[in-house]
């Protein structure tokens, strides 16, 4: 993965010193609440319901074992011994003291980490495919480009005070595991007719209270020109995006009001002026240099002597885990292993400090010292030898990190909800727990196949409810927590927004409602047809009838 040189290191250390002084001035009354807010936000610090929340950046989800150890150390020393992995591949701490945040940032800087631009109206953490570099279907590894974008966006002086937050996601190819169609900018690696590498560019996608699927404004931008093209988009948005209404300030509203074609023309005009700016042009040698950081490890030969196959035959529990929590790998003799953070005993995406320490050790032992965070709030060990799988499974099981539920209904995306977040209208963690408890029969879960259930505690949509096959959205009705259910959403290459089933249901009815939807599905599906396909074939009516019967 990427390693800082002295420039990168100097920058984050200077950033820590800057924020330490800003915090001091705020506590001394020299900075007002309003003046301090964007400064702390652009260092990841929110003020939440009970305490501040600190969001630490994990660029495109890549972590070294030392970094994960440090995240565990921070959870133990400054927080309540756990952290929460988010849908944008970051980690959030819910209980740090404001005064200690500069020390936390200094600790992070020791392992090449920071919280820069994880919040605020600026370019946020660039996210990507958690299977980058190891899956057979990608055009190219997106991570070198992600790192290039990360550097370009970090403390970019022109774009620190945008109309609203700005999120970029990059997918390595046509299979979209990065939700590129619901980001402010979505980039998909493609090859043109001559075999040259470039990007399909989408703009104006997003979730939140006005969910919109992004529109393609360029079928092909050569890699050389990616940064100048991004800069042109950002400049048009910075100048023309609305600043009078926070709910209409995202780029999706601008693209919609101008129309994609007009927007593209404005970007092209700007781009034609800056396309050859030497500060933005990237040469083949620049990509070569970046690619070296993401070169495959020295895979060993003879890593599949049949150990794993025998274990599957002998142990049904291992076989279940192998089938659901491990993924095929480009290199023979290896698999990628999902570490499920969706256990019955913790909130989705949460991990304790001792689990972090232990997984860091496991990564060193079994997966070249690297860990990835997926946008579905699980971790991944990307390069595990086949023969090591039974042993790794045993270790993960001891840590309660081997629940064999990846891709199932219980592998929910879920925001922190009313328990922590000051924006939320309703709880999400307890609803997720209700649903998980309801679907405990593994064979039944597996029979249902891949179902994406996404849960948000308010319409800001951090839990991606609008793109869940089943979406659950918490709303407030006269002080009561209610939940709107949607069906048919997707954030993959076939992206779509979910449709509302009908009136919202009360909290104690959510699990019943999900069960009714699932029964409808199992009764109407044809053969092994998936949930989404069934819904798209039969439409809302049968589901609606059953739910409100």
């Amino acid at each position: 993965m990427y390693q800082y040189d002295s420039h990168d290191q100097t920058l984050i250390e200077e950033r820590v010193a800057q924020f330490r002084d800003q915090t001091r001035r705020y506590l001394a009354g020299e900075l007002s609440e309003d003046e301090f807010r964007p400064l702390r936000l652009q260092n990841g610090l929110y003020i939440q319901r009970f305490a501040p929340m600190l969001r630490v950046s994990i660029p495109y989800g890549m972590l070294s074992s030392d970094q994960l150890r440090m995240l565990g150390h921070i959870a133990r020393k400054y927080d309540r011994d756990y952290g929460h992995f988010s849908t944008r591949q970051n980690i959030q701490y819910n209980w740090p003291a404001l005064e200690s945040v500069p020390d936390i940032l200094a600790d992070l800087a020791k392992v090449q980490m920071h919280a820069i631009q994880t919040s605020g109206n600026c370019i946020r953490n660039v996210t990507s495919d958690h299977l980058a570099g190891i899956n057979p279907d990608e055009v190219a590894d997106p991570r070198p480009y992600c790192e290039m974008i990360r550097q370009w966006a970090t403390l970019h002086p022109e774009f620190a005070y945008l109309p609203r937050k700005f999120k970029i996601a990059v997918s390595g190819g046509p299979r979209d595991r990065a939700a590129t169609q619901v980001h402010d900018i979505g980039l998909q690696l493609v090859r043109d007719d001559t075999g040259e590498i470039g990007f399909r560019v989408l703009v104006g996608g997003g979730l939140g209270r006005t969910p919109i699927i992004g529109e393609v404004i360029r079928e092909f931008i050569p890699e050389r020109d990616l940064l100048s093209y991004l800069e042109a988009i950002l400049r048009v948005y910075n100048l023309l995006g609305r600043r009078d209404n926070i709910y209409k300030a995202r780029i999706k509203i601008l693209v919609r009001s101008m129309g994609a074609e007009k927007f593209r023309e404005a970007v092209d005009r700007e781009w034609s002026e800056i396309r050859d700016d030497p500060r933005l042009v990237r040469k083949p040698a620049d990509f070569e240099r970046l690619r070296t950081f993401f070169a495959p490890p020295n895979y060993a030969e003879g890593t599949d002597s049949g150990v794993s196959e025998r274990a599957q035959a002998e142990n049904p529990a291992f076989a279940r885990w192998f089938r659901h929590n491990t993924v095929a790998h480009k290199h023979p003799g290896y698999r990628a292993v999902h570490i499920s953070l969706k256990s019955l005993h913790r909130a989705p995406g949460d991990m304790t400090s001792s689990q972090m320490q232990a997984v860091a050790d496991l990564a060193d032992r079994y997966s070249y010292g690297e860990i990835r965070v997926s946008h579905k709030q699980n971790l991944l060990l990307a390069d595990v030898p086949m023969d090591a799988l039974p042993e790794l499974w045993t270790r993960l099981s001891e840590l309660d990190l081997a629940t064999p539920n990846i891709g199932t209904l219980n592998d929910m995306i879920c925001c922190p909800g009313l328990d922590f977040c000051s924006l939320a209208n309703a709880g999400s963690i307890d609803v997720a727990a209700d649903i998980t408890a309801r679907f405990q029969d593994l064979d039944y879960l597996y029979d249902l196949g891949d179902i994406r259930l996404n849960l948000s505690g308010c319409m800001n949509g951090c839990g991606h409810h609008s793109v869940g096959h089943i979406g659950v959205l918490g709303v407030d009705k006269k002080g009561q927590e209610f939940y709107q259910i949607t069906l048919g959403g997707s954030s993959a290459e076939d992206a779509s927004l979910g449709d509302r089933v009908g009136p919202a249901v009360s909290k104690d009815q959510v699990a019943d409602t999900i069960e009714a939807i699932i029964h409808t599905y199992t009764e109407t599906r044809e053969g092994d047809e998936g949930f989404l396909d069934t819904y798209r074939r039969v439409g809302m009516e049968p589901f609606k009838e059953r739910v409100y019967a």
Binding site: D5, H7, D8, T10, L11, E14, R15, A17, Q18, Q22, L31, E35, P38, L39, N121, Q151, W152, T154, L155, H156, P157, E158, F159, A160, Y161, L162, P163, R235, N238, L239, R243, E273, I274, D277, R279, K283, A285, D286, R289
Partner: protein, 167 residues
Amino acid sequence: MRKIIRDRAVVEDTWLHLDDEQPVPERGDVTVSWQRWQKEAELLRNRDGGRIGVRINGDVPVDHLSDELCRLPLLVLEFPAFKDGRCYSHARLLRCRHRYSGELRATGDVLRDQIGYMERVGINAFEVRQDRDVDDAMRAFDEFSVDYQGMGPGAFPLAARRAAAQG
């Protein structure tokens, strides 16, 4: 006279900033709003008692400014609130697109914690908000010695890295 920062030094502001109704004095350097410049450019350009500068806000279409305007010795960018980031793009367009080489000054809600960004987009003079200490704001310039965009006075990592890779 008000103290401002120009080229990283605290100096006195010798310019008079006229509102749209205020009569133009015979002598002295003055700035006027872009709207007033539109109406009175003829009158102002023939005045020989002092220099003219123009104040520009986020609404002004900077892409279409006249060559004459871009040769003035002072252009002032107005930040009605420090969170209004449009003038950062204006500054870059003026410096890069129009090759503006005169004084580019920030006025309005200008605070120490934004000055670093402002300088990197090409603003070289700052009217720090009057309830704040100008000398304190000078510390903004020491905060970063590097940047990724090649727009600061510090080392430009990409160039340095290319050189390192070749060496």
